[in-house]
Amino acid sequence: MERIKSVLFKDKHQTRLFCAFALVLILMAILVPDKFFTVRNFQSMATQFPELGFLTIAAALVLITGGIDLSVCGTAVLSGIVAARIMDSNGSSEAGLGVVVGAVAAALLVGLCCGVLNAILVARFGIAPMLATLGTYNLYVGLGIVITEGSAISKFPETFLAIGNGKVLGIPVPALLFVLAIAILGWFLSRTKLGYKLFVFGTNSTASYYSGIHNTKVLFTTYVVGGIVCSLAGLIMFSRTNSAKADFGSSYGLQALLVALLGGVGASGGSGKASGLLLSIITLQFISSGFNLLHVSSFMKDLIWGALLVLIMVLNVVDFKKLRRKTKKAAA
């Protein structure tokens, strides 16, 4: 109990997030208990959120370095399209397992390359991450449009569709993959040397340089891992919808950033937790599914997400100011 308490209340942000999560659950229990708390609803939610979840992980990693990655969605789309093209030209829906494995591997490789390009621009040329990744976002999406010639590629083999639509013991595969990824992220951030370096670099890159930490290496690893994670999102997206299109999920990129910030990743770098990301993405999914069940127009979804995100940011800033005033007084 003590432990749970300390986990929940040590970090104010996490506490607030948890309250929001609980509030949403209670609201659903009052308003639509018979429809919300069903296996079907949970299965459908668990299929929907992982793609944004993966993009959130990638966005969060770069945010922790003190940078920002606007190209996550571009990377996802481009890698997914490369996989789609490979399957399309090798038998389409009749393609064999070998082709699917090759396509998935190619997608991961594309994700890796996108990450490398981002890293080169940021770490080698010293371009501001926001500008570099805004450029590469357009580059990646543009490449996707060229490859698809602007139209959608569809009809994938069953084996590929299983990634986005399959279930193991009743649990959708994307959700399983996402939980696994969050667990790895949690371990990475709190139990590994590289996780430590990532945080330290994000807090003060000058001091980490003067401490003998290889800043360039840290940046490269982050962007490359981020790129691979994005390509997973791309595969899940296109597998779930059985269609690959270059303009798919174009609002995902910015949403991923917001979900990461909502999950407690600091915009100035050096802070963030895997548990916060999980909580924030699930809360948002609950809200959007809940509204669906309540027959609130789907046009409202973005509006409500946006309002919630802005609210949480405001709370964060207000809290911050109080803290600052206190430390100022203590220092004097």
Partner: protein
């Protein structure tokens, strides 16, 4: 001697449960210069903030220019003639000298338009009153540090300052600029302006002040005229205990001893040239020289920052130091000049800070055990007697002296054979300074090669066995501590070529 310009009676202020000031009396007359000393957290800045109206005292009263106040606002304080010049001078770098000096007049006036001609007149007059010549149309960011300070002083003068409070006025100045500042201060005094200096540096205090007040733990422990004051007792008053200032013992280097470090003809384009030196075991080598003489670049070159030509030998072996990682592998450590931006991760825990340079040794493959990081950190805190709350508190929670020891410990954790310290005691109070000196001496005794770069001639002469003087990128003089006195070395440094 008339009535005091400022008088504070029985002033106390509490922050939560902390008594930041207790029953402090203080008074200053027109044309007088006061030095206010005390360790970090002794209440100096609090007192200044009460005078300038930023804080309201919990009890006590203040009489400013004959008027009684119980809670003065910053605006009232400025109108009464109180001007505070902070360490960063609070100038607008993107505005011109004239704009900076005249800005308060512009901002507080009723007019919505700016009269450029009037502005220049105001600025020129203020500069004339302190006998300084600065280009009115130059942007302030293009001025050297000393110039920015002059702009800040002139801005105070333009607002009819009657009491100027300066926080650490000489920290960033070269010796020559300090001398120029003294002259201006003398001038201000003659014009009847009262001055309060907050300072850590004893020598300057003695030269410019008539009186000295020392605070400790929120109480005034000394208030006397400079003539009656014994320099050697400062440390005692500030810390409440005797602080030893024992010079580092001179060691005879036996004939044929192999040096730890040898440099031959080390050159970095436009930074330093043809540096040849050697460092023997049990020696502390001091390097001094004015800002921009190449001392920092030399230290950084040995730490893998910047490209150099020439040879570096470590324990007799020629080594290439191209990156910081090379330096780390060769067991060279560097405590940088600016601990806040280059040394510390202010928002991270102390244990994270302590582990930063030795993280590869602490980790087990790719795994890192934070428990081990914390335990190792606690050990260092104990070894160096660093005063902390909890090992998981952020580095920003510590005082300057303790922060500096954290940076030092970060490097000691790498088990270095050569440690370069760049201005290790800047902004550190007397007590911590002597503790840092003791740590450095101990390292040298253990056989770690130590190079100390410092502006503080007193420090160099007490801590180092040998001192090298750099000017314009070259070593111009090498001296043993016994060959020169502190003031001789100071004169040598400021002498024009």
């Amino acid at each position: 001697m008339g009535a005091p310009f400022l008088e504070i009676r029985n002033c106390s202020i509490n922050f939560g449960g902390v008594k930041a000031l207790q029953n402090v009396d203080f008074s200053i007359e027109a044309g007088q210069a006061y030095c206010l000393m005390g360790e970090n957290g002794s209440g100096k800045s609090t007192l200044i903030k009460i005078i300038s109206g930023v804080y309201t005292a919990t009890s006590g009263e203040m009489i400013l220019d004959g008027k009684h106040y119980t809670n003065i606002t910053p605006k009232q304080a400025i109108e009464a003639g109180v001007q505070v010049i902070y360490q960063d001078f609070s100038v607008f770098p993107n505005l011109t000298v004239a704009e900076n000096i005249a800005i308060s007049g512009i901002m507080s006036g009723k007019k919505k338009t700016v009269d450029r001609k009037k502005m220049r007149e105001v600025a020129a007059e203020a500069l004339a009153r302190i006998n300084v010549d600065l280009p009115l149309d130059k942007r302030v960011e293009e001025l050297p540090v000393a110039g920015k300070q002059l702009v800040a002083i002139a801005r105070g003068i333009a607002q009819d300052a009657k009491l100027i409070i300066m926080d650490e006025p000489t920290t960033a100045l070269t010796h020559k600029e300090i001398l120029a500042l003294y002259e201006i201060i003398d001038n201000l005094k003659k014009k009847g302006i009262a001055l309060i200096f907050v300072s850590h540096k004893l020598e300057e205090v003695m030269q410019i002040s008539e009186r000295i007040a020392i605070l400790r733990n929120g109480q005034k422990v000394l208030d006397d005229s400079i003539e009656n004051f014994d320099v050697n007792s400062v440390a005692y008053y500030m810390t409440g205990r005797e602080v030893p200032d024992v010079p580092y013992e001179l060691v005879e280097v036996p004939e044929g001893t192999a040096p730890i470090l040898e440099l031959e003809g080390l050159t970095m384009k436009d930074k330093f040239e043809d540096i040849t030196l050697s460092l023997y075991p049990k020696e502390v080598l001091g390097i001094t020289g004015q800002l921009g003489c190449g001392r920092t670049e030399l230290a950084q070159a040995l730490f893998g920052i910047g490209e150099y030509t020439g040879t570096v030998k470590l324990n007799g072996e020629v080594v290439e130091i191209k990156t910081v990682q090379d330096a780390l592998r060769l067991k060279i450590g560097y405590v940088p000049e600016d601990r806040l931006s280059e040394g510390l991760f202010l928002t991270r825990s102390l244990s994270d800070n302590l582990a930063a340079a030795s993280i590869d040794d602490l980790a087990d493959g790719i795994r890192l055990d934070y428990k081990k990081v914390e335990d190792t950190g606690r050990q260092w805190v104990e070894d160096l007697k660093i005063v902390i709350g909890d090992i998981l508190d952020p580095a920003s929670s510590l005082s300057g002296g303790n922060q500096q020891r954290i940076v030092l410990a970060k490097w000691l954790a790498t088990n270095p054979r050569l440690l370069i310290l760049n201005c290790p005691t800047v902004g550190v109070d007397v007590g911590s300074k002597s503790q840092i000196h003791e740590i450095v001496k101990d390292l040298a005794r253990k056989g770690i090669g130590v190079i100390v770069i410092s502006d503080d001639i007193g420090e160099v002469m007490s801590l180092c066995s040998r001192v090298l003087v750099m000017k314009k990128g070259r070593i111009v003089r090498q001296t043993n501590r016994t060959e020169m006195t502190v003031s001789q070395l100071e004169d040598y440094l400021t002498k024009e070529e």
